[in-house]
Symmetry: C2
């Protein structure tokens, strides 16, 4: 009964795929499963995403947009570089504590497809490189050196790889590490 191309179809499919891919992993989820959750036909899925790799790439690009938006939101009220840096770490800490969190989508994909060099892998690697660059930039602007940037990147990686219970420890630690920061930790 539907003649009009249904404007939000692509988003509907992508949202369904993103939820499944993130929760169960890209390899574990089949296209039929995506179709079932999205509630559309297979032909429509392949019309918008000609292959699973392209769907996975779109999923990671969506994940990136959400991350960028969340980080931008967190940095909105921060003025000085030091505050911006600690706000970034706090945002990551909040992220890993969210219910349903199952690790970093980009790191997860690279783990699921090691050595691959397709488009989703490039999206994931680009995100990680950009994030690392942003940490470097914020640390430099905060008056920190390369060593501090390396250490904070180590904490960020630990944050993504470890249990959510360590989020607060990471945030407090970074606040302690960054120079000229007003100490606010309770203990």
């Amino acid at each position: 009964m539907a003649r009009t191309p249904a404007p939000g179809t692509r988003d509907t499919i992508l949202t369904a795929a993103a939820g499944l891919f993130y929760e169960h992993g890209v390899r574990a989820v089949g296209m039929a499963q995506v179709v079932e959750v999205a509630g559309c036909g297979k032909n429509l899925l392949y019309k918008h995403f000609p292959s699973k790799a392209e769907l996975a790439a779109a999923y990671l690009e969506l994940a990136r947009r959400e991350r960028d938006r969340s980080v931008a939101e967190a940095l909105r009220w921060s003025g000085e570089p030091v505050e911006r840096l600690t706000a970034l770490i706090s945002e990551i800490a909040e992220t890993v504590q969210r219910p349903g969190y199952r690790g970093c989508a980009f790191r997860n994909y690279l783990t699921e497809f090691p050595g691959e060099d397709d488009e989703p892998a490039r999206v994931a690697k680009t995100y990680l490189g950009d994030t690392r660059a942003e940490v470097d930039r914020l640390v430099a602007e905060s008056g920190g050196d390369g060593l501090l940037a390396d250490r904070i990147w180590l904490i960020v990686n630990g944050l993504y790889g470890g249990p959510p219970s360590q989020a607060r420890i990471a945030v407090d630690w970074v606040a302690e590490l960054v120079p000229s920061c007003r100490g606010d930790k309770t203990s």
Copy 2:
């Protein structure tokens, strides 16, 4: 060539499977591929490992034995708790710098099979829990508190999740964090 049951068959199969599983991921490797690399028939594979899950569990148990052996070797010459702790971190740092390193086998499996609770997942989780407990114990024996243990565990997770280039930074940092340790860092 075959009437005698061929003594080293199980190890041959397991070694082949372990190499494939670690390099490409468990999901990406098929049983036929294991058979091909091991150079045996499918019957023999299923005789020793009745299912892929059991083969994966054996792979992780082998990985654990190798890790335990490597850690025990690294701690062999260390006497005091502080030295043992730094030696443990150094061993992990060396591990992530080895050629062909593709991440922690246990974390990789849990990423490939999120939410699963089969035997390989239990082996992986047990390993991570035991490692965490060992860090806690070494830190406590070194005179450190719970916060220091949390921080070092954060570094360990970052070490496993990040690029190998950060290995040295992690080692130096831990040496700096642990109390009553002779500072030896150059910068």
